[in-house]
């Protein structure tokens, strides 16, 4: 991670826009990350979402493909 990564724009999308995005693409074309706690994930999550609780993100960034768009909720 370089200093420039801190200046990359992060946009907030509506649920509807994300639904369209996911519908139009195959699961191998994006990273879909659930950053909530495991109990919350267990109760309900977007199909295909990978659980990485927010506290674990810094140590698990390598699990994300940096060449693909990442959706976080």
């Amino acid at each position: 991670m370089s200093i420039l990564d801190y200046f990359k724009p992060v946009s907030t999308w509506s649920a509807e826009r994300i639904r369209k995005f996911l519908d139009q693409r195959g699961s191998g074309e994006y990273n879909l990350i659930d950053v909530r706690q495991p109990e919350e994930y267990e109760q309900g999550h977007l199909p295909g979402a990978q659980l990485i609780p927010v506290g674990e993100l810094p140590n698990r960034l390598a699990e994300l493909d940096p060449t693909k768009p990442t959706i976080v909720y």
């Binding site: 907030t12 999308w13 509506s14 649920a15 994300i18 639904r19 195959g26 699961s27 191998g28 659930d34 909530r36 495991p38 919350e40 994930y41 267990e42 109760q43 309900g44 999550h45 977007l46 199909p47 295909g48 979402a49 990978q50 659980l51 959706i71 976080v72 909720y73």
Partner: protein, 182 residues
């Protein structure tokens, strides 16, 4: 995502991140994964067929028969996939020739035992049965998406991609009928 999960009005899967994955853990080769997936489709076929026969409403009966036929097609797809990967036609004993031990009882998509799902379904309304089916298919869709991400070889990735695409189509049909019951 603006509003987080609360803003999401679509389908959600339930369970821990590894839910359902253990089912495929005995598979070490793509053919074994296919055989295990085939058994799930077979279980789901039996479930939809029994549900169709329980329905008094002709439209609902026809709908579940269609779903059953669709699961039959999945089985054929998997059978062909096994043929392509292994380079020879699977024997009539498939999938027993590919996997040594069959899971106890008929298990369907979503990991539920068919007999338990049928026992639960007795006396339930069409709406309740559709809710169960949507829930099982959503969990199945979630599982196949995650298996696709986890798979390391191209063949396995393709198997799970095919399965998840099919589950998505099923979910669209199920939710469409569900909306009609509201």
């Amino acid at each position: 995502m603006k509003g987080g999960i609360r803003a999401w009005e679509g389908l959600v899967a339930e369970g821990i991140p590894e839910a359902g994955m253990a089912y495929f853990s005995p598979a070490t080769r793509p053919q074994e994964m296919i055989a295990l997936a085939w058994l799930l489709e077979d279980g789901t076929c039996k479930f939809y067929e029994s549900i169709a026969n329980m329905m008094e409403d002709q439209e609902a009966r026809g709908f579940f028969h269609d779903l059953k036929r669709s699961e039959e097609n999945h089985k054929t797809t998997l059978w062909k996939m096994c043929e392509e990967i292994s380079g020879r036609t699977p024997s009539s004993e498939f999938p027993a020739t590919v996997i040594s031990g069959k899971p106890a009882g008929d298990v369907m998509e979503g990991g539920m035992v068919v007999s338990e799902a049928l026992k639960w379904s007795k006396g339930k309304t069409l709406k309740e049965i559709l809710e169960l089916s949507i829930s099982l298919e959503t969990n199945s869709y979630d599982l196949y998406l995650k298996m696709e991400q986890k798979a390391e070889d191209r063949n396995s990735k393709q198997i799970f991609k095919t399965l998840s695409d099919e589950e998505k189509k099923h979910l669209e049909r199920l939710t469409s009928l569900f909306l009609k019951t509201l």
